[in-house]
């Protein structure tokens, strides 16, 4: 799955650590999601979408 997480956090001047703290996950998790090594669960994907005020489909796309 592809995602726009890196771009979205850059637009907000957030580091991986900033985003991790906002999502209450580890920086390692943010890095794994950004690099496509890990696909988040639906609840976490909703949390990410809520944080950016977007729908899940606007952030995550099929390969």
């Amino acid at each position: 799955m592809k995602n726009r997480l890196k771009v979205l956090r850059a637009e907000r001047d957030w580091s991986q650590q900033d985003l991790a703290e906002r999502l209450e996950v580890s920086r390692q998790s943010v890095n794994a999601i950004e690099t496509g090594k890990y696909d988040p669960s639906l609840p976490l994907a909703f949390r990410i979408a809520d944080l950016f005020g977007m729908s899940i489909e606007e952030i995550f796309q099929r390969d």
């Binding site: 890196k6 850059a10 580890s26 920086r27 999601i33």
Partner: protein, 208 residues
């Protein structure tokens, strides 16, 4: 994207701090392994006597404190720590010391006297209880870890370790059956599992 590149650089501002924490963890880890294994190997070649040998091993075990502390610091500065991992480290440390104490106690008791069969059963079981505590500690880590990615990693490492133990025990069993290798007591299963766990974690780190 230069903005993102700059941001990532900023995010890694504490890279030097991370590198230092990594070095300290490796150093204390190496000191702990060399210390504990060193005393064991020394015992094979030099008759230290049980009291001195136990004291030396216990001293080497104390290196576990700075090792765990350095590991926790590395997790903290790299943003990879969690409360569940912190609890896991502390519980595992307690179990490790309890194991050494129970094992030494059991060896000492069997040296100084002879007992009835039920007492021997109790003495023999004593060192396994802290190992059960370690297994419980691992189960609690999976239950308490709130970070889903970290939890998935813990599960993956545990599965790799289980696969390693199953493979190693099967191969060793057949080698033993055909008198190629000596008999290995089954209490080696847990250390072998722990080696598999550590190996999987190192492999994961190396792959990035």
């Amino acid at each position: 994207m230069p903005v993102i590149a700059e941001m990532d650089k900023a995010a890694d501002d504490n890279a030097a701090l991370q590198a230092q924490a990594r070095r300290e963890t490796l150093l204390w880890g190496a000191a702990f392994v060399i210390g504990t294994f060193g005393v064991g190997i020394l015992n094979l070649f030099v008759d230290l006597g049980s009291a001195l040998s136990a004291a030396l091993f216990f001293a080497a075990m104390l290196l576990l404190f700075p090792f765990v502390r350095a590991g926790e610091r590395l997790q903290r500065v790299s943003g990879n720590g969690s409360l569940a991992l912190l609890r896991y480290n502390r519980r595992f440390m307690v179990a490790s010391f309890a194991y050494v104490a129970a094992l030494m106690g059991a060896i000492w008791l069997t040296k100084i006297g002879s007992y009835s069969a039920p007492v021997y059963v109790l003495i023999a079981i004593a060192p396994s209880l802290p190992i059960l505590l370690m297994i419980w500690t691992m189960a609690r880590l999976l239950q308490e870890e709130q970070d889903e990615y970290l939890r998935s990693q813990h599960i993956r490492h545990a599965l790799v370790a289980t696969g390693f133990v199953l493979a190693a025990a099967t191969i060793w069993g057949f080698l033993e059956q055909f008198n190629v290798v000596p008999h290995m007591p089954s209490y080696w299963v847990f250390p072998a599992w722990a080696i598999g766990l550590g190996g999987s974690q190192i492999w994961s780190k190396l792959r990035g």
